[in-house]
Subunit: 338 residues, 2 copies
Amino acid sequence: MPEFRKDPVTGRWVIIASERAKRPAAFVVDKAPRQEGFCPFCPGNERHTPDEVMAYRPAGSAPNRPDWWLRVVPNKYPALVANEPVKRAGNGMYDMINGMGVHEVFIETREHNKHIGQMDVKQVEEIVWAYRDRSIEMAKDQRLEYVMIFKNHLREAGASLEHPHSQLIAMPIVPKRVQEELEGAQRYFDYKERCVYCDIIKQEQSDRERIVCESDLFISILPFASRFPFECWILPTKHTSSFHDIQKNEVTAFAAILRETLDRLRVTLEDPPYNWMLHTSPLRQGENVYYHWHMEIIPKLTRQAGFEWGTGFYINPFSPEEACHALLPATAVVHDVG
Amino acid sequence: MPEFRKDPVTGRWVIIASERAKRPAAFVVDKAPRQEGFCPFCPGNERHTPDEVMAYRPAGSAPNRPDWWLRVVPNKYPALVANEPVKRAGNGMYDMINGMGVHEVFIETREHNKHIGQMDVKQVEEIVWAYRDRSIEMAKDQRLEYVMIFKNHLREAGASLEHPHSQLIAMPIVPKRVQEELEGAQRYFDYKERCVYCDIIKQEQSDRERIVCESDLFISILPFASRFPFECWILPTKHTSSFHDIQKNEVTAFAAILRETLDRLRVTLEDPPYNWMLHTSPLRQGENVYYHWHMEIIPKLTRQAGFEWGTGFYINPFSPEEACHALLPATAVVHDVG
């Protein structure tokens, strides 16, 4: 029997229609063949990207030299550019702002074919540190209101290059879906005087039906009102609203659970295309009691998605409980990720 | 220079980043080859669908006989089923409703390979009449709150069969994106005491930069804050909030402009995959001053869409003004669709 489930943060209803369900193997996606040839993100090709804005490289090494292990460069085809003041304008009833902002690319590793799920945790930590460092840098520019960090993995999920990379877009507005989450979380707090995400964590820890893996500091779950098969959220167990305030021990724990979650998806769904996005507080709101940063990972498995982005109406043919079962490691139910 | 543009209804900002732009030909999508073999929607195969709930066929012909010209059948793999009372339940902090609802398929024509853009207007009128008839039927069931009529064209846009068809889902809740539009329209009305869509129509008729085509009763535009390249909206020029109150002369005019818009997309983008959805008032709200029914057509051209449905954040690499120019007919600027 299908059921409507309501996302407790945004109030969005989704249909979980497991009657249409299939085995996890049915969700394995036909992918384009790997690209051959030149890669501007591989070591030695640094002159084919814009000059780096930051890199992790040996002490004393010069910028844009090939001895880096993580590199951040401006997007060569930016959606936004930084060298402008924010100008607001109207055209009759319509409002616009010039496209001021920052668009950067994190080259996550030297290795062209390395999936995050198969990296050393140490390298994943470096990626998380880079996100934090660039977020803090963005916060210094008072024109910017929001930093969005996201990853498109594989061509089917929008990646134009296959060398592992993620992206940052910083902009003078707060995107609508983020605003909607903030407002939902605020409403919940006004009513209950508790953070809605803290309550979700508590209920998931008690239900134990939708946990991918967990450690003292983080939990990875398949949300109750999942929009998509195998949608995963990773949340810090301790309340904190801004990703960029992440502490050193949390960086380690976050890297471990992120790697573990992505690796389970990789194994179960044969390296699926996916998108993820870091959901965090707007830059000028700072730490607050009602919002809770987290990462949302969305494997791109179903064609139906085409319809859903147009309408905001989601039909999910595979319940999070079934997906949870499919993601269990073959060897053990409890898995140490810390 | 890219710019942020704000949708005046929902307040959603999009980035129009035409620096990344290409010629329209760059948006032509590689499509899967046409399917060969058996089609359950073709005349003569009526026993391979569930029994029809309605059909347009010669007087005296029996249901499920092959002499129909339009046929409506229950979806064989429904996301929702009708034979249940609405039951609301909680599970800790989570809310759910059993999946009561209706899921039907409109088989739009007898002809397996006919694009709406190439049908006789008469046949498109029949399709519109069928939408109206089924909408009115749904309104009689007091458990239902919303009727969503939509179409997925081609496999790349989520269609599992290629014979021309569209779908209806009727459900006991109002989807979130619809609710958001209603609230945005209500807010605008509270402030201006005018319908926001009526104001959009007026401004488009005055700007004349984003009109695909128009007649006395309808206008087809590329919205100012288009989320996707070649996104089109069709609106009745006269204020009216419920699609199912459409009048006979409006059916004819709507069919004409729908056919014309889809045909321009077909010609310019070489039969692109697309989704459309009829946006109309919830069943129990009836006619009101602030909402305005319309159809949103979204060609599925860019892979980036994968990211956008996860975040609600849209980067559109082709401005609606450029798209408008590309959709102009080769022969004439003013085109009679009425």
